[in-house]
Symmetry: C2
Subunit: 325 residues, 2 copies
């Protein structure tokens, strides 16, 4: 009864936008405390109001600076903003490396802005799950927009970005040909392309490369052909400042298109599928690994594998036979 | 009986270094064909001879060029080399985007070199598992060195790189401050640092940054302080060519140190733990997801979640109760 009461109190405070309660819950989600899971259960029915915007792209593409400028732009429109900065994680140390990104601190005094960094030591997709849950918290806080910024473009980043309704891919000119490959990999999830540092050499070439990739697509979902927004130096007045307003407007356009064409339902389904996968991984695989480690079975298996007495597939099938109904 | 005979024939051919048989098996692993799993069971007891070297670092760091130059260097020492280029994967298209890296084609005619690209459409760590298995194939082919090159530095890349005995982290000067974060994230797994494009501005600053990070470490495993190797333009003669020979020598030194200090056992245990985790994910979680999708349950659950009738944690616990003994 008391726990239930505390839970309702927590929900009420988060709905009222209380920063301390929300921060504590996000930290508990990151640390995978069991109470945090119950809090999400209570929060979940109240989610679904915020427009979630994922921002991804290569390291060095200037995403944090862009997010900072976007916050200012949305604030001018009197929209409230939550920002989730997802940091690369070392599986050895865990912990958010960049902290609550320094550049965004100029918004620290603004009650309409709530910035949190997220990282987790958990393997098995723990980070993506924590991101999905932290988005729910910011949603229930009443933020109009939740910006999710990830570093990198691997499979895990795609999982993270799949918690969004609108995906922005940030590119910069002159990053070499590996970037091409990454671009191709995230091409299909992009709703908006940003060419950042567009005053650099090669920005027009990059733009035509994206265009030719887009030209190969025969039909765009909901008739939305991902626009390409060129951005220079966010902090200078003049044309660059205007391009930022353009980006903010395009983000709004995309959301309206999602609603009008009923694509929003599709995006929410994608988000939901990611959440189911992650929750299953957590509820099924994690306890088995934990039990095997604590009982010493894992160490014993490692020994047998090192002595080549068995192989990983045979071991896994034995465990599955023993543990699955 | 016939399958068993074919299996033994396949093993014999791979042990003899047959490129076609090995290539086909690696492709089947990538496609997650069930027969490929049985092949790995047969191969596994014969593994453990090759020195597996993981090469990671940011996109644009010039890793492919470096690997190409390293191949040439090891070939001069009359060592045989397998190369596994791990490509970023789109979860929507799958498939190796860069193909068998173009730059390495000058080694295509050399029977002592075997280069394969790897990518997979599978979620749930499928790529890392395929990498581990492909390394086994190259090991059994008799390659003295297996170089595993990954793009990116996310959690999945760390999993991939954990299949290695020696980890090389490649950095380039002047990549902005997000690189700093990534550097910190992969700092702990680095055995050797390479500063590539060291003729660029900022290379000395980068070097002292790495040095100060290393200075904070109180004790190095096996007394191995990760050396920093500076490399300029691999294809030019003179000092840059020499620095490459230095890198090849340092890689050999690290392996000797692993053997002498018995750290090799630790590394092999780390490799083994990664393999057990991946095999369990494959044997336990994958079939549950497949069954739920095929029976239509997954779609029905998605509907309930979208209508906010339940939450992902409650769903996952129901499934766990039903499926776990």
């Amino acid at each position: 009864m008391t726990e239930e009461f505390e839970g309702m109190e927590q929900l009420r405070k988060i709905q009222a936008g209380d920063v301390r309660t929300a921060s504590r819950l996000i930290r508990n989600l990151e640390d995978e405390l069991p109470g945090a899971k119950n809090a999400i259960r209570r929060i979940f029915p109240h989610t679904g109001r915020a427009h979630v915007v994922g921002i991804t792209g290569s390291p060095g593409a200037g995403k944090s600076t862009l997010v900072d400028a976007l916050i200012a732009s949305f604030r001018k429109q009197e929209k409230t903003v939550g920002v989730l900065a997802v940091d690369p994680t070392s599986p050895f140390t865990g912990g958010a490396i960049l902290g609550d990104r320094i550049r965004m601190q100029r918004h620290a005094e603004d009650p309409g802005v709530f910035v949190r960094s997220l990282a987790t030591r958990g393997a098995l997709g723990g980070l993506s799950k924590a991101v999905g849950d932290a988005v729910h918290v910011m949603d229930v806080m009443g933020k109009d927009l939740v910006l999710v910024e990830t570093v990198g473009t691997g499979q895990q980043e795609v999982e993270i970005i799949n918690h969004s309704h609108t995906v922005i891919v940030v590119l910069v000119p002159g990053m070499g040909d590996e970037i091409q490959a990454i671009k191709a990999g995230i091409m299909e999830i992009a709703d908006i392309f940003v060419i950042n540092k567009a005053d650099r050499d090669g920005s027009h070439q990059l733009e035509s490369e994206i265009m030719s990739m887009l030209n190969m697509v025969s039909e765009f979902q909901g008739g939305w052909r991902p626009p390409i927004v060129r951005i220079g130096n966010c902090f200078e007045p003049g044309p660059f400042g205007e391009s930022l307003e353009e980006l903010a407007a395009v983000i709004g356009d995309h959301y309206r298109r999602l609603v009008e064409t009923d694509l929003l339902g599709d995006r929410m389904k994608r988000k939901t599928m990611v959440e189911i996968h992650e929750a299953l991984r957590d509820a099924i695989l994690a306890p088995i690994l934990k039990e095997m480690t604590e009982s010493g079975e894992m160490g014993e298996i490692a020994g047998r594998l090192l002595r080549k007495e068995t192989d990983p597939y045979t071991i896994a099938e034995e465990v599955a036979r023993r543990r699955l109904k």
